[in-house]
Symmetry: C2
């Protein structure tokens, strides 16, 4: 089973109460892929500039991530900089799209019919384009953000009608649906054809809403949060990586996917950039999953 992840690849300059990193590896596709790589075979699709170092490609390869979908274009890689005063919301200092400005996702033929497709957070038009080009995915998931909900809500709604799983923050689902109660909001997303609505609640964890059940999980308590960039992507990576490997949306597997997503998000925020996602191993992840199950009533 394979998971294809299409999204941004970036260098992030981040300042938080825990310190600062400059031009650290980031982007939704990178966070998602490194997280998912602990569970299944992952193929990353995105664009980088000629400044993208071999060390970063080697890092992805070291996690057995297929980089055939990594397009290298003359110019500089996408750059983002943000500062966290608290960890709920970053304040963006600058965004340099660079080669990402003209990104048109092209999937290698090896990626045209894998098991799961994850459209990580990019412009809904690009997410549509990927879906137009591919066939035969058992499971399609997408993430988004408030920026696209404000800019092109109708295009985003059209996209949501084409996916099985939607990852979204609680503020975002309220903004998208105009419904304050998140459970009623999730039902309105089910009515668009989506099977699972994964609502992320930051430090309070998440609730995944299926047509006939809820799956609540707290955030895994971390002694020192350093950098919450990529937490949602890491959650989605763990969630989808596990579901891809088991090839099922049974109750038991959704439950475990939520827990793995929670653990991967916790690992992500415990270090800057992708440091913890790259270094951890399945034994550590499974031990954390065991703890989390024990701490949940």
């Amino acid at each position: 089973m394979s998971l294809v992840i299409v999204g941004s690849i970036a260098f992030d300059t981040i300042e938080s109460p825990a310190g600062k990193v400059v031009d650290a590896l980031g982007g939704s596709a990178v966070y998602g892929s490194l997280s998912a790589s602990h569970f299944t075979d992952v193929r990353i699709v995105g664009v980088v500039g000629t400044d993208f170092p071999n060390s970063a490609i080697d890092l992805l390869k070291s996690r057995n991530i297929c980089v055939n979908g990594l397009e290298v274009v003359e110019g500089k890689t996408f750059r983002w900089s943000g500062v966290y005063e608290n960890f709920n919301q970053a304040q963006t200092l600058f965004t340099e799209l660079n080669v990402f400005a003209d990104f048109e996702p092209k999937l290698p033929t090896s990626c045209s019919s894998c098991h799961t497709l994850f459209l990580a957070n990019i412009h809904p038009d690009l997410q549509h384009k990927v879906l137009d080009d591919v066939k035969q995915y058992s499971l399609v998931a997408c993430d988004t953000m408030n920026y696209w909900i404000t800019l092109c809500p109708d295009r985003l709604r059209e996209l949501i009608q084409r996916v099985d799983i939607l990852f979204i923050n609680e503020d975002e689902i309220r903004q998208l649906t105009g419904i304050r109660d998140i459970f009623a909001a999730a039902r309105s997303i089910h009515d668009m054809g989506v099977k699972l609505v994964v609502i992320k609640r930051g430090e309070y964890g998440s609730v995944t809403v299926s047509r006939d059940s809820f799956y609540f999980a707290p955030a895994y308590p971390i002694p020192q949060v350093k950098d919450t960039t990529g937490a949602g992507d890491s959650f989605a990576g763990g969630f989808l990586g596990y579901l891809t490997e088991v090839g099922s949306l049974d109750d038991e597997h959704i439950r475990k996917a939520v827990l793995y997503g929670t653990v991967m998000a916790a690992l992500d925020v415990s270090e800057f950039s992708v440091d913890a996602l790259a270094k951890t191993d399945r034994a550590t992840i499974d031990e954390m999953l065991g703890n989390l199950k024990q701490w949940t009533c």
Copy 2:
């Protein structure tokens, strides 16, 4: 096994997006007692005015709550009025202390050595006085609020050193300890001798922190929240009512106490005043507990 609850008895006038009630039965001791009465033998201690109607006393009695500790004093019963624009925090419109202004809790001799004592939210001086007067409780718990943390933090800290279980909101534990991370804040409360720190997180549920574990629970999803007054008292009532009945602080029982507290808080907020707490039955409560367990990953 018996649970003694000392706290306020009030008439509340409440307006929320779901409607309005005038002079409806309320107060921390009333919410806590009605909630706990579904689990154990409850004795309420508090003061009311001569305007307190027999119908309210009959309601307490109908739930087998012992009212020997209910002191009737010439004058009017405590009154509070608040408006909820959203359900996170009420805006107080007026507070009339009335007979509550000179309240000095007096425990009937039948209450001097029961199993559990719950000092619901009142002035820490009064909570101290009750503790000075009683002996031989196996379990002592207290609740408090931001008002007392601001007014008399030292007196409150002295009180906390005398209890086994502290119920507190997440904002309040940060204010009380000066520590932003709620888990580190809970550890500093353990260092004061407390066994269980129950941190309430509103619509996100709760986390109970013991010296060697966490117990997370989400809030039970309710189709329409009407009135969140008394949610914390109802949580504490269910939590302590169950623990009193089983007479144990074992892991398994703490877990179930958290779930019962969560269910009772959900019932409370589903109707105005104490309507749902008074009307529900153990079968309904146990069915909700079953749902909650199933919805938790």
